[in-house]
């Protein structure tokens, strides 16, 4: 089990990591998600032992690691730029931790071969890093970080530099290897899709602070604040106002539209608030189709993305701002042109409310 207790790190006046606490069960896969510069790398470097926390404590498998230098911690790390040893072959790179950690010599070759097989690099052990493709280099880095069976694996956005297709393949590949070995893993990324696809748990960070921790589903369905709602998924934000707060129901006004929220989801204080509505919760209605909430609008822009069309729709009743939504079956009913009138519908419970 890995525990961080109120870990902080400052660089001069900037607080790169601000009182982050987390707990991670043995064998779990946690992804820390946040925009570039939010302190992800700094957090991983503290766990790996390259820099010391300004405050707080890090415990790996019941043992505080503050006094342990990196080479005495049992932590494998895959670096943002991989940091493969250029003068060693793939085999040499993977054998390195075994040599440094004093594994019996005659067992090393077998062990390395086994891990090269695990990452599907059999036959390529003799190549130097520059003779391997980007994806193959990733695999060497993964094998090198895992071959000594560390207590904890850290991944610092190793997939960020790959092109989309390869990145998505490698995400599944990482997950497969992680589950095969059952190694406790902390992955770091600014790619929300990667976080949702790969992890058991997601921790959202912004400006060094923890924003939300939960399963991918929770994080997506019930964002804890406006930042999380905006960072994950394509989300529309609309200014609104609480008109009436009855027992069990809240009346909101969004532009010219009045909506009653069922009590369970209503939590705004009286006064101005912000309403979030995810793009995929809005439906393009057929002429005779009904929905709990319907509005009329005009297509302002349409972007064809192959498996879907992203529409921007102007809705006069909601004010000047357009709504973004998806049509997930563009081949089924044809693409609408800008200027075409449409009707949109959604459910009251899909509206998330935040106090600004």
């Amino acid at each position: 089990m890995v525990r961080l207790i109120e870990v902080s790190r400052r660089f001069g006046a900037t607080v790169a990591v601000d009182r982050i606490s987390l707990e991670l069960a043995r064998g779990a896969f946690l992804t820390i998600l946040g925009p570039s510069g939010c302190g992800k790398t700094t957090l991983l470097r503290m766990i790996a032992g390259f820099i010391a926390p300004s405050a707080g404590e890090i415990v790996v498998h019941g043992r505080p690691v503050a006094d342990l230098p990196p080479w005495k911690r049992s932590i494998g790390m895959v670096f943002q730029r991989l940091a493969l040893f250029p003068h060693l072959t793939a085999f040499g790179n993977v054998a390195y931790p075994l040599q440094m950690r004093g594994f019996p010599r005659d067992g090393i070759a077998d062990r390395v071969a086994r891990y090269l097989r695990l990452v599907r690099l059999e036959g390529l052990g003799g190549r130097r890093p520059h003779e391997l493709s980007g994806g193959q280099q990733q695999r060497v880095a993964i094998a090198r970080a895992l071959v000594f069976e560390p207590d904890l694996l850290l991944l610092d956005e190793p997939l960020a530099a790959l092109d989309k297709k390869l990145r998505e393949d490698m995400q599944l590949e990482f997950r497969r290897i992680q589950q095969e070995l059952g190694v406790t893993t902390i992955n770091v990324t600014h790619d929300q899709r990667e976080a949702l696809v790969m992890s058991d748990r997601v921790l959202v960070m912004d400006q060094g602070r923890l924003q939300q921790a939960g399963t991918p589903e929770e994080t997506y369905a019930r964002p804890a604040n406006r930042f999380v709602a905006g960072f994950i998924g394509l989300t529309n934000f609309l200014p609104a106002e609480v008109v009436d707060r009855g027992p069990g129901a809240t009346r909101l006004r969004i532009g010219a539209l009045e909506i009653t929220l069922p009590g369970a989801t209503a939590r705004p204080a009286a006064g101005p608030i912000e309403v979030a509505l995810r793009a995929e919760r809005i439906r393009l209605l057929a002429p005779d189709e009904a929905a709990e909430i319907t509005v009329a609008g005009t297509i302002a822009a349409a972007v064809f993305e192959g498996d879907r069309v992203v529409y921007e729709v102007g809705v006069p009743a909601l004010g000047p701002q357009t709504l973004k939504l998806y049509d997930l079956d563009p081949l089924g009913h044809g693409r609408r042109r800008p200027g075409e009138p449409v009707r949109l519908g959604w459910l009251a419970r899909d509206l998330l409310t935040f106090t600004p």
Partner: protein
């Protein structure tokens, strides 16, 4: 049509350029095989007479040996100092960083005579004038920026997390340095060492100011010789230099690969 024309012009210029670069060397090389007693091009025939004559001249052999010694002293000093300086320069924001960068530009800005006079004064105080090994020290002081450049270029290619990676894989810092950093910058070290060696063996002006009649190095010997009669053995000496340079280039190709000079930086 006009592109083809341009291409031919370009090819022509390159050939001309290479010819002018290589021509003097070729002329001297060919002239050194003359059997006659005066240096001439084209030679009157082909013989190794003047090479044999060189072997019979102890003053030449001793000067050659002194020059090689100068090269060895210079390289032995430059490799550790230049390597550490380049690594420090890359790794830390040094307090004297700017001063060091100015020093790195010195070879382009200060004429050798000036450096030579400075060294002469200092070495004179130390009582080092007229000895051979101080010439190696001088060559090292003057040419060290080349060594630092060679290593710094290699260091800049490296991932800054290389040593962190080694440490997290189980290597304490000194181990990480010896097993990862040093081998990873070795191409730069080898390149720098060979450059320093060749520069030191060729060092003329500063040698001239630091040696006396009993300790002349090969370039000084050649200089003294051309002030009297120019005989074909000088061409043979030149051929020895060309030979040394070729050996250095072959070594470089073997150990590092010449393409590092032609290849642009990889991302």
């Amino acid at each position: 049509m006009s592109r083809g024309w341009l291409l031919w012009l370009l090819v022509g210029l390159v050939v001309l350029d290479l010819a002018f670069l290589a021509l003097p060397t070729l002329v001297v090389l060919i002239a050194s095989f003359t059997p006659g007693t005066i240096i001439a091009f084209p030679p009157e025939g082909l013989s190794l007479r003047w090479y044999a004559a060189l072997l019979d001249r102890p003053d030449f052999l001793r000067a050659l040996w002194r020059s090689l010694l100068v090269g060895l002293v210079c390289t032995a000093l430059a490799v550790p100092i230049g390597t550490l300086a380049a690594l420090a320069l890359a790794r830390f924001r040094l307090r004297g960083g700017t001063a060091l960068q100015v020093y790195l530009l010195l070879p382009f800005t200060i004429p050798l005579v000036v450096s030579g006079i400075g060294l002469m004064l200092v070495f004179g105080q130390l009582g080092w004038l007229g000895r051979v090994w101080p010439v190696g020290v001088a060559a090292c002081v003057i040419n060290l920026p080349f060594m630092i450049w060679a290593v710094a270029a290699a260091v800049n290619h490296l991932d800054p997390d290389l040593e962190n990676a080694a440490q997290s894989l189980g290597a304490p810092p000194t181990h990480a340095f010896v097993t990862v950093t040093l081998p990873a910058v070795m191409p730069g070290i080898v390149t720098g060492a060979l450059v320093m060696f060749i520069l030191a063996v060729n060092e003329f002006l500063v040698s001239l100011m630091l040696v006396d009649a009993r300790t002349v190095t090969l370039p000084v010997l050649v200089y003294n010789a051309i002030r009297s009669i120019i005989t074909p053995d000088l061409a043979a000496v030149s051929a020895v230099y060309v030979g040394l340079a070729l050996v250095a280039i072959l070594l470089l190709d073997r150990l590092v690969g010449l393409d590092i000079f032609l290849r642009s930086r990889k991302s």
